[in-house]
């Protein structure tokens, strides 16, 4: 007798309920706490017209050709010690088949201060490369043709300065700004929300972001002016839905700010890009990426009236989750990273950074960095996953989870709107509290062994062999300090002072600050000098610490 589909499901349900279930106490919800059914069926599929890659709302991808047209860019985030050392690492990665550069700056550079500032002590070159002036930037890209490669720069409060340095290096190489391709992180809102590398208060910070977007729309048209980032929100402990919702809300806040400046939506929206985390909960991440594209396309069209198709397409970079890696049995991190990278690829990422296994201990060694890159090459060329576009589209489970994450994000958009928008919500510590609560919930689940981390709270070993890690030579600190002081001694001081004075004056008015910053950079004003000039006008921001 033929059993109809409905009956088959009922039969399964009875059998499932009468069969034994695991009693290990481990949660069956996603890592973010979304409850999951043991089985998804056709009944869980949403009723909607069939979605296609390259067509609104782009759930299945922004390109009709997926990775058949072009693979994702393998873009390993890297930078340490001095510009010279990092330049050597870039050449090594490019020689090993990496297809784009991504600059990691050290903490003083990220915080807009020079290497000889008192609070730079002990920090120079440790979590990225130390850049104080155009001179360092020239060394960083020495022998790397900026007209032929794209570069991503992870920098926020001082983003405009580093972009100007990049433009100035290109000028010296004879490459016009109009030919430059790359991405500036430039996402100050998530700094207030999660990563906390803020300097100026929100309002002047937003002005600088809009200045750079406006300037690039005219002068550096191929540049992605901002990389609106969920990565740091997630790493700070948020759930997948929070990462998605807070990031897209930030994106809309930037759109609002640009519109307020008088720009037209289709003149800048196509250069907005995104950056997400690929965490260890495989399907949840894939669903998150798919939901991101759908939500963004819908909001851009319906709320902002974007006409240009390119304005609707959410393009994103992905980094595997640093927070999922463990110092214990660190080789396991290779496996974790591979799985996370696979989720990013199945989610249709445009570019990808895979973490090295030793990044939980220090910056990666040459060998660990190459292994991480090789993981991507293996995914691209051995596994066959790039051959079919959105291979999980139509999966009962993935489609239902995509919808659920979208629904949760929409709830957050409403709450943020009720709080008066992103900046008032930051000032009310809304995001910060939400993230801290999620982080604490997860930590408690680990403590109670309702979540297991292999090698951490289960499957541990007593004697671990120490791993070779990258050491930053303490000597370089003095050398970098000497270098910035040498720049100050040898530059055309009159030109530099004049440029900084003009910048200061412009900052008190409403001019776009980019040309003033560019001139200061060309005159070898240091990053710290430029930032301090702006701090005199804008002031600094202090957050209310919540635990």
């Amino acid at each position: 007798m033929k059993v109809r589909a409905r009956d088959a499901k009922e039969v399964w349900k009875e059998e499932f309920e009468s069969s034994p279930t695991r009693d290990d106490g481990v949660e069956t919800s996603t890592i973010s706490g979304i409850p999951l059914k043991p089985l998804y069926t056709a009944d869980d599929l949403p009723k909607r017209d069939e979605e296609m890659p390259g067509a609104f709302p782009y759930t299945r991808g922004i390109h009709p050709g997926g990775y058949r047209g072009r693979l994702w860019t393998m873009r390993q985030f890297s930078g340490f010690a001095t510009a010279e050392e990092t330049n050597r690492r870039y050449k090594y990665l490019l020689a090993n088949g990496q297809t784009g550069l991504s600059v990691a700056f050290d903490m003083p550079t990220l915080m807009g201060q020079d290497s000889d500032a008192p609070t730079s002590r002990g920090e120079i070159g440790h979590c990225g490369v130390a850049i104080d002036s155009l001179a360092d930037m020239e060394t960083l890209f020495d022998g790397i043709p900026l007209g032929e490669i794209t570069t991503s720069m992870t920098i926020n409060s001082p983003a405009a300065i580093l972009l100007c340095m990049y433009i100035a290096v290109a000028e010296k190489q004879g490459v016009p700004a109009s030919a430059l391709g790359g991405t500036l992180q430039n996402d100050i809102l998530k700094e207030f929300i999660a990563q906390k590398e803020f300097i100026f208060p929100p309002e002047p910070s937003m002005r600088l972001v809009v200045d750079s977007i406006e300037y690039c729309a005219k002068e550096v048209p191929k540049w992605n002016t901002i990389s609106i980032s969920g990565y740091h929100i997630r790493e700070a402990g948020s759930t997948a839905a929070q990462e998605l919702a807070f990031t897209l809300a930030d994106g809309m806040a930037y759109v609002d700010a640009c519109l307020e400046r008088g720009m037209r939506i289709d003149d800048f929206a196509s250069r907005l890009s995104f950056f997400f985390d690929a965490h260890i909960d495989f399907f949840e991440e894939i669903a998150k990426f798919r939901a991101a594209r759908r939500i963004w396309a819908r909001w851009m069209r319906e709320r902002y009236g974007a006409q240009d198709e390119r304005s609707l397409k959410l393009r994103f970079h992905t980094q595997t989750a640093g927070v999922s890696l463990t110092a214990q049995q660190p080789e396991l991190n290779i496996a974790r990273t591979a799985i996370e990278a696979l989720a990013a690829v199945l989610g249709g990422t445009q570019s990808l950074h895979t973490n090295a296994m030793d990044e939980v201990l220090a910056l990666p060694t040459d060998k660990a960095a190459r292994l991480a890159l090789r993981t991507q090459q293996l995914l691209a060329y051995e596994t066959g996953v790039a051959n079919t576009i959105d291979p999980l589209g139509g999966s009962y489970f993935v489609e239902a989870l995509t919808d659920e994450i979208e629904r949760q994000a929409e709830v957050y958009f409403k709450r943020i709107e009720e709080l008066g928008g992103v900046i008032p919500a930051i000032e009310a510590s809304f995001f910060q509290k939400e993230i801290a609560d999620s982080a604490f919930r997860y930590q408690q689940e680990l403590e109670q062994k309702r979540r297991l981390m292999v090698g951490v709270n289960e499957f541990t070993v007593d004697d671990e062999e120490p791993m070779e890690i990258l050491r930053i030579d303490p000597k370089l600190e003095g050398e970098q300090v000497a270098r910035v002081q040498e720049v100050r001694r040898t530059r055309d001081q009159a030109r530099c002072s004049k440029a900084l004075a003009a910048l200061r004056k412009a900052a008190t008015g409403t001019d776009n600050l980019m040309p003033y910053i560019l001139e200061s950079v060309r005159a070898y004003a240091t990053e710290g000098e430029i930032m301090n000039t702006l701090i005199e006008v804008f002031g600094i921001y202090t957050e209310t610490a919540v635990i």
Binding site: M107, R121, H126, Q195, T326, A362, A436, F440, A545, I547
Partner: protein, 139 residues
């Protein structure tokens, strides 16, 4: 009026030194210590060693918990210990956490940091360590 015989809970100043803003760990630990019955004061971000010691003295803290993820621990942790010596407050116990390689842990302990906890440490382990260190101090 009844005499309060309860032992005053140990006061812990939790501080984030260095330039990085990674505060997930420090907040989770601060909350767990508070839930374990300690009095916890969190300084917020980007504290210099001088600021940390100032705050510890002002708050009458017996313990300072330092967190860092920027790689500057070899400079900043010993600087806090030195500053305590300079201010004649060496009775304040300093412990720390963050991304700290094994060799550095050994070196930092020699320099007067009482204990270091790395990623993946169960919160209970930190609480247990404090209870052992301060058997009379609540928590």
């Amino acid at each position: 009026m009844p005499v309060d015989t309860a032992v005053r809970p140990v006061r812990i100043l939790v501080a984030k030194v260095g330039l990085d803003g990674h505060d997930r760990g420090v907040k989770v630990v601060a909350r767990a210590l508070r839930d374990a019955g300690y009095e916890v004061i969190y300084t917020g971000l980007r504290q210099t060693p001088e600021m940390v010691v100032d705050a510890a003295l002002q708050e009458d803290a017996q313990v300072i918990g330092l967190s860092i993820h920027s790689g500057a621990h070899m400079t900043l942790f010993p600087a806090v210990v030195q500053e305590l010596k300079r201010r004649k407050a060496t009775d304040i116990v300093v412990f720390g956490g963050g991304i700290i390689p094994e060799d550095d842990i050994v070196a930092l302990k020699k320099k007067g940091v009482a204990e270091l906890f790395t990623p993946g440490t169960p919160l209970q382990e930190i609480v247990d360590w404090l209870r052992k260190r301060f058997p009379q101090g609540g928590g």
